[in-house]
Symmetry: C2
């Protein structure tokens, strides 16, 4: 069968591979691949050598944002042929840490996990893939190809769940949310903020194109001004750029008791001068919280399915700005100014 | 009556004042002052001008770590003459923010609160004081003079409650606690860590004297080595020094999924060079949380009363290293190497 793959860090190796059909050891559920979404992690794999090729393989089959249709599934798996499914990205460490043993492999504490399409396991960017039912998440058929947004949404669903759980430390619920970065993660974080009824602000650097429109259509407010010029003090922030400079600016603007969720990473490494005593003082005297969140567990995929199910399909459809054929998949790595989520079709 | 007071920022003004008996407007409960504890905030008031004198007064009566005995209390207040009581520090803003309106004035979000002995209200460092029953906390009479530790303990009780509530984001409970700073706050934070059954480590710079002994008696491990040399990775940290350099070191040593509670402030302002992108990346990929905590609400005073009630009174007694007579109270501001909690007697 055909698959999309690369040797991490060797962009010239990115192409279509002829690989063996997926082995039964990958899981009892056989799936026909429909789409994979491409994100910053894929670009890092290709250009910066992030990730790790599975043992015995020459290339890494990429694609961790999946959508497929079940062809075969065992009795009692909860899946039937024809079901639309998404595969989870992370699998627990074979020698599970306490979090993995408890089913929260998104919180793996020993780093021994495997991630499909990223670390030591082939991704979902192939005509066929197999998966254990434990890691397959059924998607509402009404979503159709929008189901490819499930994985990205699961990451923001986890961020919001963590905001809620951390929020139990206070009796006052947040009112004003700020999302930084209007890429797919930021827009979906804003969608979930609006679904919670929060006064939602989205910051990004662009001044035109689809992002400001998509934000406005959510009933949220878009701004390309610096965080310090916001007319509100957010009491919850979902930071999606991963940039230290953005983190610093939103931290300065956050309200007392604010909860800041960090949901993005950047691969810059820039030394900046700052006063850590003052940062500490501000956190303490303001009862503020900053937390990082990565990946998602099964319940977050389910929360994401609910969030997408109640969203406007036309709005979600506008996030899928471009679809690239499998044969030309490396084009999906190059984003244009108006691109939000670029997908690769496998069918 | 006599009271201990100062004009903030004028150390030479620190002395014993002759002031009016407490007005009924301070509250219907009349209390005979027994002890006040002195802490870093008092030293900041005296030397650095922190705090604010109440309107119409020439000096600030200090003392926010209180202990007294009820002399008069109204029916239905839950208090009777003879009861030992501690007064809460913070009172809600007269124009309450949402947190104050919900009873969580330790989470006040508009800064309009009043703090006895610190901001716009006389402290408890007087022969008599009055208080509204809403802000008086009854102390187990078995604690005797150890009750003066209640306020400090309430601050660490809040920190631990916040650790617990934030901890609901993960299914795995922490095992290893690190406390930085072995002053009264740090030692009481370690006491609560041990009461939770955690493998507890305490870092401070001193190499001898009572601190290492007190830590060992808790069944915790004392170290004066840098955090980077700890043989464990803590999954919960209670940082009590307020120093950015300590925060930075413990952050580097913390386990994945760690929760770092910041419970101290320092008044240094030192610019350091750091890589905020890398800090963000570490928080995100490690699912880590950093939060600040200040002050305490009524339930934290009650949690503190429980924690002190089940602790070894001999151990608690060793925290009260020195008692100074009211007339010589400014001596309490000067801590010796072996001082832990210095108190001023009012009786």
């Amino acid at each position: 069968m055909r698959a999309i793959g690369v040797v991490p860090g060797q962009p010239e190796s990115a192409g279509v591979l002829e690989v063996e059909d997926p082995p039964l050891s990958d899981g009892q559920v056989l799936v026909r691949g429909i789409l994979v979404g491409i994100c910053g992690t894929d670009a890092e794999i290709v250009h910066q050598g992030y990730g790790h090729v599975p043992e015995g393989a020459s290339h890494l089959v990429i694609g961790h944002e999946s959508l497929g249709q079940v062809v075969e599934a065992p009795e009692g798996s909860g899946l039937r042929p024809g079901d639309m499914v998404v595969g989870m990205v992370r699998r627990p460490d074979p020698v599970p840490c306490p979090s993995c043993a408890a089913g929260d492999w998104d919180m793996c504490s020993n780093g021994g996990y495997v991630e499909r399409g990223i670390k030591d396991a082939p991704g979902y960017g192939s005509q066929w893939w197999r998966i254990d039912p434990a890691y397959a998440v059924k998607v509402d058929p009404a979503l159709g190809r929008l189901g490819v947004l499930l994985e990205t949404t699961s990451v923001v669903a986890k961020a919001w769940e963590q905001v809620d759980r951390i929020g139990t430390r206070s009796r006052v619920a947040p009112q004003v949310a700020l999302v930084t970065g209007a890429g797919p993660v930021g827009l979906l974080a804003a969608l979930l903020a609006r679904q919670r009824g929060l006064d939602t602000w989205v910051l990004d650097v662009v001044t035109d194109g689809p992002k400001p429109e998509l934000v406005a259509e959510l009933g949220a407010t878009y701004s390309s001004a610096p965080a310090s010029e916001l007319p509100v003090q957010p009491d919850v922030v979902v930071e999606c750029t991963g940039l230290g400079s953005v983190l610093s600016a939103v931290f300065a603007q956050a309200a007392p008791n604010a909860v800041l969720a960090l949901a993005g990473v950047s691969h810059h490494s820039k030394l900046v001068e700052g006063d850590l005593d003052a940062v500490n003082r501000r956190l303490v005297l303001g009862n503020q919280v900053v937390f990082g969140t990565v990946n998602a567990g099964r319940r977050h995929f389910e929360q994401a399915g609910h969030a997408l199910g109640v969203a406007d399909p036309a709005w979600l459809g506008r996030l899928l700005t471009r679809q690239v054929d499998m044969a030309r998949w490396p084009e999906a790595l190059v984003k244009t100014a108006d691109d939000i989520k670029v997908t690769v079709s496998l069918d």
